[in-house]
Amino acid sequence: MNAWIEKQRHLIDFTLASLARRRTKNLGLLLVYALLVFVLASVALYTHALRQEAARVLERSPEVILQRMVAGRHDLIPPGYLERIGRIRGVQQIEGRLWGYYYDPVVKANYTFMAPAAEQVKAGTLVVGPAVARSRGLAPGNTISFRAYSGKLFAFTVAGVLPHASELVSADLVLMSEADFRAFFEYPAGHHTDIALSVANPLEVRTVAAKLAAALPDSRPILREEVLRTYASIFDWREGLMLALLSAAIFAFAILAWEKASGLSAEEKREIGILKAIGWETGDVIKMKLWEGGLISLTAFLLGFVAAYVQVFRFGAPLFEPVLKGWAVLYPRFELVPAIDGLQVATLFFFTVFPYMAAVLVPIWRAAITDPDSAMRS
């Protein structure tokens, strides 16, 4: 056992020395390798952070949302629906919500206008999300006017800006009083956009939904866990799609690795011949070369991963954000919470180290079977 460890140490020593001797040749490969890890790790870290963010946001949203459907389309909830639902076992709270979209032609972006249930916002004032504040250059106390879809102009005073945390969802939010909301959109009195229900016990959510569907057949309950599931699969899907697109790059990298590993210089060939002549076995040369591949992989992996981590969590992923987030014109600029996930690291390993090792295996063997007697002739 000791001899085995000692032998591996010797092999690593030799490998390190020979890597150092052929610095320039290995540097190119190392950089390409690290770049590949960097791109893939950025995608992985970024989507994972988004997924976490979405999950955190949804944690605070109601368990069930009820929408009325007319001719298969989402429609307003007419007065009296809240009462018709009445009391359902397990439902802690029911409220009608008021919200809608507004397209701001000035910055060409969509905002979400919303009237919170309790009178949190005074009439004539607004509370805006951070992205809105940023794009329109707003601070508390400023006045802003929006032209309603009816053509009328409305002026509001900004009462406050929402905090940065969970910016992903609140970024494009504009909060206003119920009266302002109804006036702005000419929303019929007593109508609501949808109904939110909170259910304490997760096991009861499905029964509640079934009861709702029975009580109001023209309505559609949307479950939070369902949304969560959809988000999870959308994010994974995006990530997977990116990886599939990047598979061309992975493939090209594998070919490069193969080329590099097979294109031994005459000097390297001579060295392997010498090693074999003076008593190294084919298996020893293979082991030494595998160590070489392993060390290169480890270095590239660490370099690429750390760079990706810094890019995503320090600088907010400027390189991949547009591709991966892409769900509104108005990009929220939010702080991603650093998170590393074991599954992702393992997956990343399969996309980088595995193709590399698979590609160099045969060239390594080819190099290792150099005739030992070649050292006698040159």
């Binding site: 030799f14 001797r21 001579r270 008593g279 007697d373």
Partner: protein, 224 residues
């Protein structure tokens, strides 16, 4: 000690350019003696050394090393024998560039897994003996030809082999260095090591240190 029986070795077997470099060699090499092979270029001296030194397997025929038949052994086992029994000094010295003299000397022992410190001490004492202690950290490409050869000898001895094999050891040396080399050989032989070498150099084959000269031509022995 080493017994060769009807050894034949083909290159490019089965192809149009098939070539039989050795054509039926019967020979016994005695232990603890210095044996030299001589013959024109292309007569098969180097090929014969590769077979004796377990670097290659004969296409047919038997090789016996201290009573063991080793001709049919796979490479893996030949390597074990080669590592422990033979030390090689090559014509071009074949040191690994970029490594220090000491590192080069240690190389043949790496696969044995000998503890690093013990190995280092052994290598240093060998370099010491060959008067290279002051150059042990120098990269081999900065060494002179004679120094390089002494590093190669130290490397050949690091696993303490019974047999030393040298192919054209003096081809790249001037007369003085060749004499010095023969002196070293004599010492090693006096320690009880078998030495097998090839040479065109009269200084070598006619030296008093050589006990037996074997002549070759066209892959056969021609009696001496």
């Amino acid at each position: 000690m080493i017994e060769l029986k009807s050894i034949r070795k083909a290159f490019n077997q089965g192809r149009p350019n098939e070539f039989w470099a050795l054509n039926g060699i019967d020979l016994t090499i005695e232990a603890k003696k210095v044996t030299a092979f001589r013959g024109p270029s292309g007569s098969g001296k180097t090929t014969l050394l590769t077979i004796v030194g377990c670097l290659a397997r004969p296409t047919s025929g038997r090789v016996r090393l201290a009573e063991d038949d080793i001709s049919g052994l796979p490479e893996r086992f030949l390597t074990d024998i080669r590592r422990s029994t033979f030390g090689f000094v090559f014509q071009q010295f074949n040191l690994i560039k970029g490594l220090s003299a000491l590192d080069n000397v240690m190389l043949p022992a790496f696969p044995t897994g000998r503890p690093h410190r013990e190995l280092r001490e052994r290598s240093e004492s060998l370099l010491d003996r060959l008067k290279l202690a002051h150059r042990r950290e120098a990269r081999v490409e900065w060494l002179s030809g004679g120094e390089q050869q002494r590093v190669a000898i130290a490397r050949a001895l690091v696993n303490d082999p019974k047999v030393l094999i040298a192919d054209e050891p003096t081809a790249n040396l001037d007369t003085a260095l060749s004499r010095e080399f023969m002196g070293i050989l004599e010492n090693l032989n006096a320690e009880g090591r078998t030495v097998i070498l090839t040479s065109h150099d009269p200084l070598v084959v006619e030296s008093a240190a050589v006990h037996r000269v074997v002549s070759m031509r066209d892959g056969r022995l021609t009696e001496d």
